[in-house]
């Protein structure tokens, strides 16, 4: 069975049909790309998948369970994590704490323990620190742990967002333009990291990207979105040579 099965997904804002009859099936472990011109509705799809928007119609199944109608926090706990196109870090918290917030549901102790620092507090916090540092280490960010997130350079902020999303222990990771604003070197490094985390954490990744080098370099399958509807789906070679896709990007 596929990890993610989306059928006939659609949403309207007032009279505007932003996404219509969107279908996607992602197999477990796949690195999948969602591409399309600006304004095609890619981020809107992400927002529906993560519960930020409630779809007007259609269904979203993750491992066979329905996600439609759940709120973003519940969807995250079901195993979908994401990053944002416009970076959304916890700016006034340290890099370490950014990751620890994402570990919130995995490591538990009561409010009383929290207020008094008694009981499971010390042990749990130590375990959380260790886990958070492990994740940061994957991104080579261990030495930044004590810095405020807002003081990180731009590229590191993007990486921290991915690290934070990974800390929620997702089955499916959604990356919204992870290479936006990066130079070619950083993009190449990012490609390696994405491949590496897919293998190390055994997760499935769906990403939105405009950088065609990144898309063709790492994606195993692509879906092209145009004007809110699906244009075509297939392997990168097939999709990017499709005359319809070329028209959508370049015009007649």
């Amino acid at each position: 069975m596929a990890l993610l099965e989306v059928k006939n997904l659609g949403i309207s804002f007032g009279g505007l049909r932003a996404v219509d009859d969107f279908n996607i099936t992602i197999e477990k472990g796949c690195l999948y790309g969602l591409i399309g011109p600006n304004g095609a509705g890619k981020t809107t799809v992400f927002n529906m998948l993560t519960g930020v928007y409630l779809p007007t119609d259609g269904s979203i199944l993750l491992d066979g369970t329905n996600l439609v109608g759940k709120n973003p926090a519940q969807i995250c706990q079901s195993g979908v994590a994401r990053t944002f196109q416009n970076i959304r870090l916890f700016g006034k918290m340290t890099v370490l704490d950014n990751v620890k917030v994402a570990l919130h549901n995995e490591y538990n102790y009561s409010l009383a323990s929290g207020l008094l620092h008694l009981g499971k507090y010390k042990k749990t916090e130590a375990a959380m620190d260790q886990r958070a540092l492990e994740i940061l280490d994957v991104f080579g960010m261990k030495e930044y742990a004590g810095l405020l997130a807002s003081n990180l350079p731009y590229g590191e902020q993007r990486k921290l967002e991915i690290a934070r999303a990974l800390a929620t222990n997702p089955k499916l990771l959604l990356l919204d333009e992870p290479a936006a604003g990066m130079n070619p070197n950083e993009t190449a490094e990012l490609m390696d990291t994405i491949r590496f985390i897919r293998n190390k954490f055994e997760i499935t990744i769906l990403l939105i990207e405009h950088d065609m080098k990144l898309v063709t370099g790492i994606c195993e399958k692509l879906t092209v979105l145009n004007f809110g509807t699906e244009l075509t789906t297939g392997t990168p070679e097939v999709v990017l040579n499709d005359p319809e896709v070329i028209t959508a990007y370049l015009g007649e």
């Binding site: 993560t50 930020v52 709120n71 973003p72 926090a73 995250c76 706990q77 994590a81 994401r82 944002f84 959304r88 870090l89 916890f90 700016g91 006034k92 918290m93 704490d97 620890k100 917030v101 994402a102 919130h104 549901n105 490591y107 538990n108 102790y109 409010l111 323990s113 929290g114 207020l115 008094l116 620092h117 507090y121 010390k122 749990t124 916090e125 130590a126 959380m128 620190d129 934070r164 999303a165 800390a167 929620t168």
Partner: protein, 323 residues
């Protein structure tokens, strides 16, 4: 290694607390304080509790609360009614009053949680203001609270003779809030302040932690209210109006939103300073106004950035670190 550091910090804090307490007790027993100063000891503690608890919602959750005095009044009235109606020795009665006052206030924290779930920012600030005014006018019209006349002849359990007791409660409050901020609950609260959409996206139940912050803050404000009632001996609904809420806010703003140490220091300064200046009441409001405006403009101006990045400041910081 990190644990050892924390323990060191804890020992240092405990040492400071013991020294401060011993010094004040020494001054009290040696009868070295003027009457004016002696009468300020408890109000300082009350304001510390109020400011530190308000900091949880305003500084750490990032929601401006203009009805903190409302929680305080609920606690004060509950506590006073408990001790006036129970005929037990003070040592039993007062703790019951404290807990009852705190719990009833936190119940009101749950009630205000309903709008808190749906609103943010400006709108929520106004709702907390409205909430404080609603509490005031309900207390004003109830029989059990004796309406506008208020309650009088409350037994004086919280005056300077019981300074030890009040000091202990103040320390507990500071530690509880500080601990909470450094716990998973506190991290959840801070993450909502920094970016609630991202907080939701990493699985934080935003509603739950927003309400939790309000409930915990209300609990301690309620306790401050109980101490207040048993320090002054009389309660009037007008004491806990919008101006009182702003007074607490001024302390938090001056101390720095999100800084517990700052709240404590600012509470001490802003309680003692206006009393020391003559024609206190007229001047106090003026002082508060200037503090609010100056702090906000200073915080977001270039001046602060320049001072923070200036050579002298960096040198100062460096020498402090080395020492």
């Amino acid at each position: 290694m990190k644990n050892k550091q924390i323990d060191k910090q804890l020992i240092k804090n405990l040492a400071i607390i013991v020294i401060v307490f011993a010094a004040i007790e020494f001054l009290l027993y040696g009868d070295l304080l003027t009457r004016q100063f002696r009468s300020l000891l408890i109000p300082v503690c009350i304001n510390v509790i109020l400011a530190v608890s308000l900091n949880l919602t305003t500084g750490f959750l990032g929601e401006l609360t203009l009805g903190h005095a409302g929680f305080m009044s609920v606690g004060a009235y509950t506590g006073a009614l408990v001790t006036m109606n129970l005929n037990l020795p003070m040592i039993i009665e007062f703790p019951i009053a404290l807990i009852a006052g705190g719990l009833v206030a936190s119940l009101f924290g749950v009630i205000i949680g309903v709008p808190v779930l749906r609103l943010r920012g400006d709108y929520l600030a106004i709702v907390t203001l409205a909430f404080g005014e609603i509490i005031k006018s309900i207390i004003n019209s109830l029989k059990i609270t004796n309406g506008a006349m208020g309650l009088s002849n409350i037994e004086l359990h919280g005056n300077y003779k019981n300074f030890g007791y009040v000091f202990f409660l103040t320390v507990i409050t500071i530690f509880a809030i500080k601990n909470m901020v450094n716990s998973r609950q506190g991290r959840a609260v801070c993450s909502i302040r920094d970016n609630y959409i991202a907080a939701e996206a990493v699985g934080i139940n935003v509603s739950k932690f927003k309400v939790m912050a309000f409930v915990v803050a209300a609990f301690f404000a309620g306790i401050a209210g109980v101490i207040y009632g048993h320090n002054v001996g009389t309660l009037k609904p007008t004491t806990f109006d919008y101006n009182k809420s702003i007074e607490i806010l001024v302390i938090v703003v001056l101390g720095g939103m999100g800084s517990i140490k700052g709240s404590v220091i600012a509470a001490i300064i802003l309680t003692i300073l206006p009393e020391m200046l003559r024609s206190a009441d007229e001047f106090r409001m003026f002082l508060y106004a200037v503090v609010l405006i100056a702090m906000m403009i200073f915080n977001s101006s270039q001046i602060k950035q320049r001072i923070l990045s200036s050579d002298i400041f960096l040198k100062l910081k460096k020498t402090k670190k080395e020492a």
